[in-house]
Subunit: 384 residues, 2 copies
């Protein structure tokens, strides 16, 4: 599928049946593998054995034939790993509106089935599209009785990244023992605090899927709370890496909005700022043009009183207000800040922004990036 | 205000009092001149004499001092042209968060007051920021009894252009006799069909203002319907020119969405497509990557059934479906279209897109553009 001979087809296989959970794109145009997996998980979330992921073709906007191809990809996987067709989930990423080349898919699934190993790095490489480096995360969770289990995940991102339910593709596995219901609850909670808090370009994919498989091989029963906490840490690492390696990204931005009437309002303001082309190009230029941040907040569609707003910028990656945060805007006007210091902060690789909107208790943090020449180059000619 | 000695301060003056109307940004962060004009028009929409426009400084996010400076700019204008301070409106465009240099403003207003003439082209030049050419439009309206009046306007645009109520700056004048109420109604109707139907980057300005002055000098009473129709034509010309000369724009896109449950739903889908970075970069690259258009439609937040959608592309600027329109997507999958022909259409300077979403009667057309390297360059380093 990839023209350059790079890894393009990935199988994640468990030697024992897995409890399974998934979160999917909320885009109304859902790709065939998303529709296939949603239906598959409704019938079977207790004994999933494999996930197959192809690149270069999203199998989206492909109609009935696309659904048949997704099912055939699952069937080919079942044959390759020796399980039932109802025990396989599939994921696709790449160009929208092209049918899968099923000859290549059958060939690739066969090859991958023979090459199964424990090289998690190769799996992360195999699902990359415009990503420039593989994204992996893992954590070992100690239980109170001295036992442990592991949660490990891979993800791909790069473009079409927007904060609405599941984003991008990710497969996360664990050897903990946990019920499908607890698994789904944990995934939704972790997703809300990780993948749903990143923005690259504000475009929402037709294929976004995060799958979580638990095969119980550790023999350790997971406690829901600590499992969710550990899973969230894995998801945050993967989600942040997706932003760091977003298409053309040169800057990592931690954006925190507080003092709104609700968390939803804070999130709405943060998303509007994070998707503003003018804010994103100012980040790219290292220009502390904070007026664009305030202007974006003002058009977010939620209540905002400029006179109650305060805007700080900080170096590094921080959600909390630091002692040396630079206050740029208060009382509806600029403070007497040092432009040289503002520029210093904005020119760094990591910038944190904190916007206080009033006296409410709502807040939200999202991680985002700049909009660069390379984003335009990558997406101006993606298909060729 | 402009460092390069270009025209930077414009006075539009009527030698007799004007009925006046205005539409303003819906951004909750409103610049001082917007707040000033809204209040001024509440007190006086029957005898306005002048509008003063400065560039390089938006006088936005400038607090109480910003309001005082807007009032002082009006007062200086009144002194220069010999009218009351309550007979002047002001507009500002440029960087957000900087205070006006009032010494330069006083100097500029004085110079402009001495240089008053009938050079409408110079006025259009004087309000430009990142625009590359001046935007003017005019129309002569014949009445049934053989008389005539004129409507003429200037506008500036380039960036921070989003379709939510008034956008950008524009001053439109007429020598027709018309009441302030009829004038305001006509402006709102024309605005809805022109300035509110363009998108450059989806960012909404703090300063968007369109002002319309009628001084009655023709002695001709305007009929509301024909006045509104003529005004709409002037506004459409100005609005489309703002897109054509948008920051870094290389392509002009006419985007029509039909078959939705309501006009608002069609507009929502059209706006989502028009602000999608992935759609805009595909336009820039001349890549007929239509899957991104469908994907953007699917995340617009309104009902959409992909199976009911049809997507056509056409050459040139057309809202209606032409005989040689190329159908790319129907029945939830790609048609067997010629990729070479699709690329030919997408590589042209003007491309028209038509998306049918179902059997509803809702529809909307908006005019938009691509997202290019130059947009990133212009906005990555705007303030310096």
């Amino acid at each position: 599928l990839k023209k350059d001979g790079l890894l393009d087809m990935t199988l994640v296989v468990s030697d024992r049946p897995c409890a399974a959970a998934g979160v999917f794109t909320t885009n109304l145009v859902k790709a065939a593998p998303v529709l296939f997996d949603m239906q598959q998980l409704q019938g079977n979330n207790t004994h999933i054995r494999a996930v197959t992921i192809n690149t270069k073709c999203a199998n989206a906007c492909t109609g009935e034939q696309g659904l048949q191809n997704a099912a055939a990809m699952a069937q080919a996987t079942a044959a390759a790993v020796g399980c039932g067709g109802d025990e396989v989930l599939v994921m696709s990423t790449g160009v929208i509106g092209a049918q899968l080349n099923m000859e290549k898919v059958h060939h690739g699934v066969g090859l991958a089935g023979q090459a199964l190993g424990t090289d998690w790095q190769a799996a992360a490489l195999g699902i990359m599209t415009t990503d420039t480096w593989p994204k992996l995360a893992s954590i070992e969770v100690q239980t109170s009785d001295g036992k442990s289990y592991t949660i490990a995940g891979i993800a791909k991102g790069a473009g079409m990244i927007a904060p609405n339910m599941a984003t991008m593709l990710s497969v996360i596995v664990t050897d903990a023992i946990i019920t499908p219901t607890a698994l789904q609850d944990a995934l939704q909670a972790a997703n809300a605090r990780s993948f749903n808090r990143v923005v690259v370009d504000g475009d929402m994919s037709t294929n976004d899927t995060v799958l979580l498989l638990a095969n119980g091989a550790s023999g350790v029963q997971a406690d829901s709370d600590s499992f969710t906490e550990a899973l969230t840490a894995v998801c945050i690492k993967l989600a942040q890496d997706v932003v760091r390696d977003g298409e053309g990204v040169t800057k990592f931005i931690t954006l925190t909005v507080t003092g709104t009437d609700s968390d939803a309002a804070a999130r709405q303001i943060a998303n509007t700022i994070a998707t503003s082309p003018l804010v994103k190009t100012a980040f790219f230029g290292g220009d502390a043009n904070w007026g664009r941040i305030i202007a974006a907040a003002g058009r977010a569609g939620v209540a905002l009183n400029p006179a109650a707003c305060k805007l700080w910028i900080m170096s590094g990656e921080t959600e909390a207000l630091t002692a040396d945060a630079l206050l740029l805007f208060a009382n509806a006007m600029p403070t007497a800040y040092s432009e040289a210091r503002a520029t210093d902060i904005f020119r760094a690789k990591s910038v944190s922004i904190r916007l206080l909107c009033g006296t409410g208790t709502g807040e939200a943090t999202i991680w985002t990036c700049d909009l660069s020449h390379d984003y335009v180059s990558i997406n101006g000619d993606y298909r060729s």
